[in-house]
Symmetry: C2
Subunit: 255 residues, 2 copies
């Protein structure tokens, strides 16, 4: 019984990739079999799990364009039970040619069909855009996790994202739910606390209970190519990402 | 004698827009006539200068697709001598349909031709991607200013960006130069200092002398819809962006 989450935001640098890596680590640590999917031409998720995007020949791009099978694209990582469909600049081609294909929104869902038996969770990392790659990632998911900073430009980005989610529900995926996740939060910053209470008022249960605060250790984990849960297990961000994993597992189990 | 700068990075959240707004303010303050161009569907530059993207009917998208003239697209801002070509979600369509057009890389250059007489500087803000919009923005520019954080994923993004710049030089714009700008820098962070010295060693004069350090006031300026130079003139970031403006003006004058 595989559950697919897409981590998405067209706003740049809001910790989409960091959330994908950290959540993958937290879920693997609890014994779940996890597949991470890198849909960003930058290949940051691939880097964050210790692999080199430029060395990958069968990536998510080839999977989307039917140029490689799931088995060919899947890579193991240093962590048992955590596998990866890598991403690299080839995804730029996928982004450009996907819209001209038949039923393209379903391309990722189709490509990931073989994974349904072998994993408990699929986590998809998206690029900072509201384009073809993000559409196919949202179409393949049960839940859209939307990392958001308590910042003006980031909060402004929620409206177009929710419109996109609504469109995906209407046309392709009526079961798509969403949760907003506050990231890079600074509890001592008054503006952050104000924006947080406004988001709580606006979104209520649509906002994750768990909040991820700033933690410089997360940046070091990326260099090490490991999730924070494994790189620095006792740091605050590792604890918070574990709490997020538990919150999402509880949500999934109620579904 | 108009000088065009494109602010570009496919990495998200590295202060492209913040740099575009702040630099526009610093140049306007020194008496230069400045045109800001918002090429990001998110419309953050438009927001950062106090306008509402959703109310704009003639945007950079219409200009690129020949659906509006320069005069129709140009908007004044609250600051005398600082005008804006706004951006909004219409740019998503431009992104998609531009590549199918004749000589599309020149689309922005053509659209901005009427501006050459009326402005001293044109500043173009790009989206976090290496796609059609960024290509046309680089083709129109004399200088590509590349905001970069002293962070792993951000530094990794430099190589594909420089490859893109090389391609643009070979095919369209041989005079395109670049400068890397360190942003959101934390001088007390040892990893930041280490990454900075590595970038200095690798890029030498290709790295701006000016470094922009983190300053929470910059986030408040965005809410006010004003450049930091006008919103909080005595803050460190206002001083640093003024220094950057001077450094770039000196560079331009030597050209
Ligand atoms: N909670 C945090 N505390 C401190 N630094 C963080 C935190 N979360 C992420 N970062 C750092 O912020 C930067 C941006 O994060 P990340 O790359 O994950 O964002 P993103 O949304 O995936 O960006 P993009 O839009 O480019 O894909 C990275 O350098 C990352 O290490
Ligand atoms: N020097 C700084 N100090 C503190 N905060 C900053 C600084 N520069 C930018 N910011 C904040 O960081 C966030 C990201 O900045 P910004 O939106 O300008 O980046 P960007 O590269 O344009 O992002 P995108 O890739 O989404 O276009 C914003 O909330 C901004 O206010
Ligand atoms: Mg990312
Ligand atoms: Mg921006």
């Amino acid at each position: 019984m595989c559950y697919t989450l897409t981590i998405a935001s067209q706003k740049g640098g809001v910790a989409k990739t960091t959330t994908a890596v950290s959540l993958a680590g937290a879920l693997q640590e609890q014994g779940y079999r996890v597949l991470a999917v890198d849909l960003d031409p930058q290949g940051n998720l691939t880097l964050g799990l210790g692999l080199r995007p430029q060395h990958m020949t069968a990536t998510a791009a080839e999977l989307l364009l039917d140029a490689a099978t799931f088995a060919e694209a899947r890579q193991p990582t240093a962590l048992e039970g955590l596998d990866l469909i890598p991403g690299n600049e080839n995804l730029q081609l996928a982004e450009r040619y996907l819209p001209s294909r038949q039923a393209y929104a379903w391309a990722l869902q189709r490509g990931l069909a073989p994974a349904q038996q072998s994993y408990d969770f699929i986590l998809i990392d998206s690029p900072p855009s509201l384009s073809a790659l993000t559409t196919t990632a949202l179409t393949a998911a049960r839940l859209a996790l939307l990392p958001t900073q308590a910042e003006y430009f980031s909060a402004y980005a929620l409206k177009p994202m929710l419109q996109t989610i609504r469109r995906v529900r209407e046309r392709y995926n009526p079961d798509l739910a969403y949760r907003i996740l506050l990231t890079m939060f600074r509890r001592r910053n008054r503006a952050h606390r104000i924006i947080r209470s406004r988001l709580e008022a606006t979104f209520g249960a649509g906002l994750c209970q768990t909040v991820i605060e700033t933690d410089t250790k997360l940046r070091e984990a990326a260099i090490a190519g490991l999730p924070i849960t494994h790189f620095a297990p006792r740091t605050r961000s590792a604890t918070q990402y574990r709490a997020l994993a538990q919150e999402l597992v509880a949500y999934v189990q109620k579904e």
